[in-house]
Symmetry: D2
Subunit: 137 residues, 4 copies
């Protein structure tokens, strides 16, 4: 199945824990945002600079918007992949795209995105630095 996903992409593996499930027996809706965070941190680490280091360099990337489309429930103890990539760069913001899939990539459980402002340590919106863009190329 042809599936366009931003390049480069990263695949974060995760086992669903009890603490992440709810009384319906499935991954609770808010937990997807935690997984999105783990996946983008993983991607940054793979690219050689953790988000903690990005912050130390003076760029903070607070989430400005987040959304998730829940397609199929994910059950306890299932191993899933969180696929992540940068979908869009704007002057002072960026957007990650996510998919949650089975480990064979066949089943698509969820799609989502997070949009991040580029902010200085003082809280001012700033232009996204080139080294940050270059990192994701």
């Amino acid at each position: 199945m042809a599936k366009e996903f931003p390049e480069p992409e990263f695949r974060y593996h995760h086992f669903v824990s009890y603490g992440e499930t709810d009384a319906m027996g499935v991954l609770y809706n808010a937990e997807y945002l935690h997984l999105f965070e783990r996946a983008r941190s993983f991607a940054m680490r793979q690219l050689g600079m953790s988000y903690a280091e990005v912050e130390k360099r003076g760029v903070i990337l607070p989430v400005r918007e987040a959304s998730c489309r829940y397609r199929k429930p994910v059950t306890y103890d299932e191993e899933i992949i969180v696929r992540v990539g940068v979908e869009q760069w704007k002057k002072a913001s960026m957007r990650f795209a996510y998919e949650i899939r089975s480990t064979d990539m066949e089943t698509l459980y969820a799609t989502g995105m997070t949009e991040h402002a580029c902010v200085s340590p003082e809280g001012r919106v700033v232009r996204c630095p080139d080294w940050l863009r270059d990192m994701f190329r």
Copy 2:
């Protein structure tokens, strides 16, 4: 400021706890979805039928989509209001709208929505029952 918000609306009060904040000192992005759930459960309880009772009547309302626009950070120990109402009814789904505001309603911290399928206990998508629609009128 004229602000259109679906009627009837409900206002859920909440104090931000340490456990809900992150290292930036503010309410973590995934926690907003927890607050949305608390607010819509509160609304249902106010309307005379808890979500647990709705389920017992045979209607399950899993979240099919969720989104949140984070406008201003909310800090630890702040008292906030989660405003909630039903924005839209479709044949087999419904949508809640949310706002997170300061207790004087002057500051708008976030807006969001959750879309819910109407599902039978066996997991089949069903028509939203009239009694559920009527409840929110």
Copy 3:
């Protein structure tokens, strides 16, 4: 039933949300520690000084130890009471006791405690100030 509990005591009301339950259909074990935090913050607010204000006065109370004994499971949408009081004062630490009960106080779901060091903003362990002790009398 005679039940010794530290005086003064405070009772924090809470409805169990979906997001707090797990695939067993009950309140997840880690959520009790969140409830303990909410209850002690509530107690402080009742006593006239929020924990945020305590911190502003220069005393930080990090959790040094926590424990919980889970007696009976708590299910989704149940209204519960978290009972809280200060059990013990030491020179540079204090201990809160907790009970989780049904709203009629008849059913005891859990008991627990948290021990807190008194720490300066610089991270040094300090003597618990008198005004803090007095607050709980």
Copy 4:
């Protein structure tokens, strides 16, 4: 430093996420219980039978008691090890021991335990089966 820890032991690696930290900038106290769960699930998976499979075989292991001693704070993005082993077997219960350490094992951040009842799917306390004990030998 001689450190007695139950054998066999397992070491679960984890990066601290933003969502797990609090406004003090450190891993929030309730998150340790989530990590304990992840670590014991990891241990079981290593031993060849996931906790989901243990449940399918008819043994449920609800947490009856949990405690944690927080020795040093763990900060955002730190890579930590959760060490886990079975400390004690009783007729109808078992106890896991945990340590949270730096990846070089030099720094001890926390110690903890969880005690689990052996329960049938109907909720009756039962004798811990031999195959479960044997699994951990």
